[in-house]
Every structure is written in structure tokens, then in C-alpha cells.
Symmetry: C2
Subunit: 327 residues, 2 copies
Amino acid sequence: MIRIGILGYGNLGKGVESAIKQNPDMELAAVFTRRNPQDMVIRTKQVSVLSADELAGMQDKIDVLILCGGSATDLPVQTPAYAGDYNVVDSFDTHAKIPEHFAKVQEAAASGKKTAIISVGWDPGMFSLNRLYGNVILPEGKDYTFWGKGVSQGHSDAIRRVEGVKDGKQYTIPVEAALEAVRSGSNPELTTRQKHIRECFVVPKEGADLKKIEAEIKNMPNYFADYDTTVHFITQEELQKNHSSIPHGGFVLRTGVTGVDKENKHLIEYRLKLDSNPEFTASVLVAYARAAYRMNQEGLYGCKTVFDVAPAYLSPLSGEELRKNLL
Amino acid sequence: MIRIGILGYGNLGKGVESAIKQNPDMELAAVFTRRNPQDMVIRTKQVSVLSADELAGMQDKIDVLILCGGSATDLPVQTPAYAGDYNVVDSFDTHAKIPEHFAKVQEAAASGKKTAIISVGWDPGMFSLNRLYGNVILPEGKDYTFWGKGVSQGHSDAIRRVEGVKDGKQYTIPVEAALEAVRSGSNPELTTRQKHIRECFVVPKEGADLKKIEAEIKNMPNYFADYDTTVHFITQEELQKNHSSIPHGGFVLRTGVTGVDKENKHLIEYRLKLDSNPEFTASVLVAYARAAYRMNQEGLYGCKTVFDVAPAYLSPLSGEELRKNLL
């Protein structure tokens, strides 16, 4: 049994907890929190909730620590801090800061002879893998990534900061015509506006100026101004009833040509359609936790990404079984 | 530069030849044939065509030998025969015989300290990878593989063996309604007939009994009897004009559930749409030839499949570049 520790018990941590139950070769060893453990109730009754401070001396009880904090402030500190003592997996997703994060985690993990896998999830993660496979198979080609339909946490937060807004949720939606243009092999150059639309569901405060809210959202630089954005005003009850789940997904497409005269076109398309963004991300984290454990046993120390993990490490099946059943 | 040798100059070998030109870190060292080299003209003028016998002493001139023969009789002999002397890549695709093939190649490659990667292409190959990734992320779920629209060589051959048939081509076509049922998350149990239809274009011999040909094709066990099959009679000119390319493709789908009460559904869909089946397969072979070369340099000897190859080995980019550009 691979003994998993979870640090952080938000949506992602809860997703890891339930994903572990779907993997018979794994067990949840403990959940760690920076809050008061006494205040926290987790779903798996027989498992302890411990203070994060306890991680100072739990190395013999945890095979892999899955870090379920946020990329803004938690992971940049936590992953390097724990990678020297534990095999760790995180979902660090601030693309621009990955090189810096990698360097810090590499130093800690290598010196502690531990295995760390960072930036695991679906983007970065499965989408990155599909970009890589697409690029190496079709070196003369073009990449496209579309997101959605799904809830963007960042854009939902931006809506909620607008004056007069009580609550809100934003969906990113890929434009079907743009997807079709890519699939046709015409290699379109697509603007931001042509690729995605943004749909907002807004609960206004009582007496708020709806026209003003709508205009402020639609003209918000970076977040909405470059997109065709629609704003719907709804009640808190409607938001609760119809928009409380956290779906997401998207598409990675690679189009390219082969042949003596580049006469043959090819399309590689990878699509995710997810009812729960955090639970799917958690499921990917758990599979890579298995890889971290096994790679560490083979002496593959240091910081890794999905690019460095041979797919077989992700599966509980043996090489023989994999070749027989899945190849 | 990685120096590539090609053994076998059919559609696949020609595809490898043109794929090498799309990869600036590779060069074609020589094409080897079991026929008389004098009788063979290849597209790359400055490169030698040599007898396969020359492979006995070319170890210092070839970094990776790509075996472009067929799975029925060529590869079962050739891959074990050359894997002790060369890093090799093949596209062995007889699923049921992969374990046996693996064992023979493993013995040769391990004792020669070479790296062999077998069963590379898209199925087995990229489809296998997507089955594995889908299974490890969504352990409670269901796999679906659909093929086409594309030309099935085996079924086209079967048509041509029917009495009264001069020439013919068969397309395997996935049933759109079945794909949609899978995407809906309803986990349908699909019969052979529900998943694919078979469309045949047949050139009859002069005076042949068309009704008899059609009946014989539609009732052919294994090949057509379990499918809804349509038969079109056309002229040799029409076949030549409209059906001389070799498109293929297909879909790998994984549907599964997550959550405490398995309440959230997820769909992972991988799709290929290929103008040229052999050229795409060749492009995958060339990427894995790079991996074989690099893995061999790192001492990773023996027989491998796509499951054993960390994705980063496929790319000419460094780890830093990959993390910066594709993660």
C-alpha cells in the first residue's frame, strides 16, 4: 500500500481523498492542515487530521505527500519546504513561474533523495503532454488550446470585486466555429475574441445599477474587454441552484503536414469534459503520486514534471499486464 | 545528428524518409533492402541504397535502425535479429503476439546493450498511451476505441480475394450515434455492429455476377458479417481517382466517475484524423527513434514500448525549453 498524506483540505484536497478510495493500492495516512486540526472534520472517519507542524517528523508514515494548496502563495513555499523530506506532488499552475519553482524544488528533492513531481493536473498536466506528443509527431504544424466550457475562478473573482455585485460566476466557452476551423486544417490565426466567449451570471446587491455593473464587467481590461462577454443578472437562489458545480475542460489540437510535398494533413485532438475540475485534477495528482513513489524506489530523485514520467509508472499494473491489456 | 537507417522501402519506409526531413536533428544514413539495391531508386538522391546483408557491419554508421516491414512475417524475424546490434524501432501491431515479440526483442537488446522500442505507431502506440492515461486517471470507468474513417488494408485484401472482383477498397467508419452515446457518459454496451460500419468500393471483373459478389462480401465471417456493410460497384478509373489515398484515424474515449458518491462524470477523448496512415505512423516512429537513441545513451537498455518512454525523450528540446514552452 502506498501511504498518502494530504496537505490542505479545500476542494482539491477533498478530491484527493475520494480519488484515493478509487485506487486499491493506496491509502490515506493523514490529512494535514495549517488551521486548528480540532476544528476540521474530514470525510474519512478513521483517518487523523494533524497540524502541518507534525510533518516535521512523519517521514516514516507517509510515502507521498500531495500538496493541495494554491499556486499563488501556498505551493511556492510548501513544495520546496517539503520536497527534501517527502516525495511530493503538486499542481502548481502559474505557467510563467514554473522554471523558478522547478529550480527550488529540484534543489530540495535532489539533496534529500526524494522525488517531486510538480505542475500536475490537466493544464498544466495532461494538456501539456498532448502539446508535447503533438509537437514531436507533427513538427511542422500548429498548436491550439481551447478552454471550457467551464468555470474560471479568476474571472469569477473579478466579477465579485465589481461594485454592486454580491456574487457571481463566469464560464469560459470555446467558440465552436473556431474549433471547426482548426479541425478543417486551415491553420487559422485566431484572435482572443475569436477563440472564447465569456458568460457571466451575476447576483446584484439590492438597488445596484445593473447597467453600470454590466458595462464595468464588459470593459474590464485583460479579463473581459478582449472577449465577447454576456452578463445575466440572476438571484442568489438561482446561482446556488444552477451554478454551484465546478465543471471545466477544453481542447488541445495539433494540426500538421507530412509527405514529400507536405501534401498530407493530420489532426490530433485531445478533449476533456469534466463535471468537477478539482476532482479530476485530484485524480491526476493521485496517479502521479504512484509514479513519484515508484520512481523514488528506483532512485530517480529530484524534481520532475509530467514530461519526465514514463507512463508505465502511473499504473498499478505490471509491464506484462499493460502490454497485454492496453497496448 | 542522429543517423537513421531504414530497413524496407514500402509506404512506411517512404514515410520515415520524408519524416526525417522534418526533424533537423536527424539524417538518413542509408536505406536497406532485401531486394536488389540496384533495382531501387529512393527519393533522397545522395543517400545509398544497400543490401540488408550490409547491416552485418554498419554498427558505427547507424544510430537507430527503423524497421519498416510488415507485422505478419517481417518484424517477428527482423526485430529480434537486429536488436542486438542496433537501437531499433518497429511498428509491430499484431496485438495478440506482442508479449512473445517483446520477450525475443528484450533478450537480444539487453544482451547487446541496445535500446529497442516496439509496437510504435498510433494503434498500438498513441491510442495505447491514451488508454493508459485514461485508465490511471479514471480507474472507475470504461474504455472505448473507434477506428476510422479510414482504409482497412486487411478488409480491402479480403474483398479482392472474392471471386469476380478485380480490385477494391474498404473504409471502416465509426457510427456517429455510438460516439455520441459514449460522450454522453451513459456507458453504453455497444455491439460490433453498433460501433462501425463498413463501406466497400469494388471493381468487378467483366461479366461478373454483381449480386453474388455483394452477397459474398456482406456474409463473409469475421470481416463483414457482423457489420452493416455497403457495397458500391465502380470502375477501375473511379477507384484510382477517388480512392487511392490511405486515410485513417479514430477515437479513444475514457469515461469515468469521481466523487464521494461517484456523482461527477468525466470524459477524456483522443482523436486522430489522418490523411496518410503510413506517413503518420512513420512520424511517430521517427520521434521514438530519437527516444531510443537518447535512452541508449543513458544506459536504458532492453526492449521498451511507448509505456516505458518518458515523453521528454521524444523531443529535441531541453527540459528547460519544454517546461518553458509546452508545460
